[in-house]
Point group: C2
Chain length 423, copies 2
């Protein structure tokens, strides 16, 4: 396979912890099912690393910076594919761990793959399952070869190795698969633990590449390394030296502070500055957090956050948040956000949505999710337009100063990745 | 008000238990906000009483026989107004009892009424709340003036009288309101209890009419009388002698057998044969049950049944039912029903829906509801076409013999009205 040949060439050229070899992906980009082009590079004056890119996949083009809604169980909770198109989703993420357990990857493969199964004909990325199985805590045991874990559904014993994760993702059939990794929560791991997990992630990245053979599917690698600059740099160099189609940044969007996150990103992207591949910060989803990461040169994001808080009754608006469970909204005839194009805002009042939440009516979850995803995706579209117009630094400053003025206590939303329990 | 003048004229003319005065509604039909015309009368040969009618309301025309999906809390569970239009709903029912308790009728009135509140611009009928408050069991006490009951939501003490029920419905603002009544479950009431409840229903019907003053809203009366022919006949004559815009048949679709129900309907409709108003059998919703009632001359139906069983994973198809929680569907690539036009069937496989149900995914409830309502409403459209073509008796026989052949044990679905706990 071309993939394997490219891998051999790449690993022959370097692929060791201390390697700083130029990334080989560009050399084979023409043959790859997933390619990336930077159509709006960062300005030469260094005021921002924000860039406008275009990710080409077998199921269509993704304009970046892009946010990927999460469809944990092959459905973005409460939405159907028409809703996803309406909110403006360009690409969605599905969770390998969840689909492996239920309904099973081989079953989805027999049914024509993920796109046919969930009737979503746009691009799909699957994660590797690493985050979920590692976050199972007492239910899993990690060794150098892989992770043995117990299903959160039925307690059955299961095992993921890099090879198994890739086989599962090849069966699922997304446009983009992700190498199996071992993330560590930065603040609850020692330096030795971070080193061990990161070296394991590197070996698993090579094994993931070697195992991957599906010609119509891209493969992204994951950079780990915790919060320490030297480990992150080592991991970035190692992973970037392998012929992945994109570079994920794992182990963030967790318990680190925004300042710690930004410090890691600054160092990482500096190292990757000349790398032509997309940079994907896994698990981040609050607009202000994404704004800062875009400024540091990140292209892709995913999170369950906008949809999860929506289902809890928290609606995002330019002025901050509305908690629709608050009694004040029961008599409010205004839409959640007057200038919003979403199904909720163009049709219903805050009063109606507040009623639906109080009555536990299913429609509440769909409407609120439509709004928060529209808000998030329109925010990213605004970011792209600002990049194209050369005004991203000003737009960023405006958004940050408005946020500081309107809702200082809401400066940061607490982000959450989809754990084993799902999005 | 014209309503009150008409009522006076009507009650002056009769409106007593022993009255058989001709119904007065036709005399004032031209002025009424809700009118009915029979565009396809039953054949003269007496082979069926099925008829095609047209119910004109302030928010549009309803072709009858018609099934009304139930939107208990001002939402047909899991669907939005676009979905309702797509499944083919012509008119929906909302529950006075539930909306009175939450979010409150005055609140909905301030927000522009039910149509604006739920963004449904088609016709709406509200029930009177009688069925719900009476079905509260130990939580209610009935006297001649009304019913004192405790909210199933917060235990607060509430009181409905005919005047209060009408005031609540005028505030809600549906196209059609319904007189307050006291239904009795046929098999668990003595004859004396049925007589008492029916006479009370008659007095409450007069008080409901007297209280009703909203000129842009029709008012239907409810015939009670249990299963005994003489009491039903008395009630039919009494209610039909009042200037209601339509005649509801209450106290059925409960614990009676299909044979008992049909016997009551045969006797009732014979008495009402010359009456120009629509006949609405409250609470019936299984297609085969409705087929039999249409054959007896019924024009309108409502039930939570199609949507409730859908949310439990039971999908109606021409061959019977599919229980999507059955493991056999996990690998079934076929749509639930190949020739169905609904959102579920034209997009997804049985396997996908079965997966969504197992994963408790919200999308399952919406898709399944779309299907069962489409099935039910298309069934009624087929019935209307057969009436227009003069082939209803043959169509009925075909449907019944197919049902007997394909699913003898499923001949009757157990029907359920929306009790106090909601649809």
């Amino acid at each position: 396979m071309a993939r394997i040949a490219a891998l051999r060439a790449a690993t022959d050229r370097g692929g060791r912890l201390d390697s700083a070899a130029p990334p080989p992906a560009s050399a084979v980009a023409g043959r790859r099912p997933v390619t990336f082009e930077v159509v709006g590079p960062p300005p030469a004056d260094g005021t921002t690393r924000a860039r406008h890119g275009r990710l080409h996949t077998p199921h269509g083009v993704v304009e970046t910076p892009a946010f990927m809604p999460v469809g944990t169980n092959a459905t973005v909770k409460a939405l159907d594919p028409d809703d996803l198109r309406e909110v403006g989703a360009q690409i969605i993420l599905a969770n390998t761990y969840h689909l492996y357990l239920r309904p099973g990857a081989e079953r989805i493969e027999r049914l024509g793959g993920l796109h046919a199964f969930m009737a979503w004909q746009g691009p799909i990325l699957t994660d590797s399952g690493g985050f979920q199985v590692v976050s199972l805590g007492d239910l899993r045991e990690i060794d150098d070869d892989g992770v043995t874990f117990r299903s959160h559904l039925d307690g059955s014993t299961q095992r993921f190795t890099p090879e198994r994760s890739i086989a599962v993702q090849e069966a699922l059939g997304p446009d983009i698969a992700v190498a199996f990794d071992q993330p560590v929560p930065p603040h609850s791991a020692t330096r030795a633990e971070v080193i061990a997990a990161t070296e394991r992630t590197h070996r698993w990245a090579e094994r993931s590449l070697a195992a991957h053979g599906r010609a119509d599917q891209g493969l992204f690698g994951i950079i780990q390394g915790g919060l320490e600059a030297d480990l992150r740099a080592t991991s970035a160099r190692f992973i970037a030296a392998l012929p992945f189609d994109g570079l994920c940044i794992g182990g963030l969007a967790g318990d680190e502070t925004p300042a710690e996150r930004v410090t890691v990103l600054d160092r990482l992207v500096e190292l990757l500055e000349a790398d032509p591949r997309p940079r994907y910060l896994m698990g981040l989803g609050s607009p202000l957090d994404m704004l800062e990461a875009v400024d540091r040169g990140i292209d892709l994001f995913d999170s369950v956050l906008p949809a999860r808080v929506a289902r809890n009754g928290t609606l995002w608006v330019p002025e901050g948040r509305l908690n629709l469970r608050n009694a004040r909204y029961l008599d409010d005839p205004a839409p959640v956000q007057a200038d919003c194009r979403c199904r909720l805002c163009r049709t219903f009042s805050r009063a109606y949505l507040a009623h639906l939440f109080r009555a536990d009516e299913l429609l509440a979850y769909r409407l609120a999710t439509c709004h928060n995803l529209t808000f998030t995706l329109d925010f990213m579209a605004r970011v792209r337009h600002a990049i194209d117009a050369g005004t991203f630094p000003e737009t960023r400053r405006e958004i940050l100063s408005r946020a500081a003025r309107d809702h200082p206590s809401q400066r940061r939303s607490s982000d959450t990745q989809a754990g084993a329990k799902g999005g």
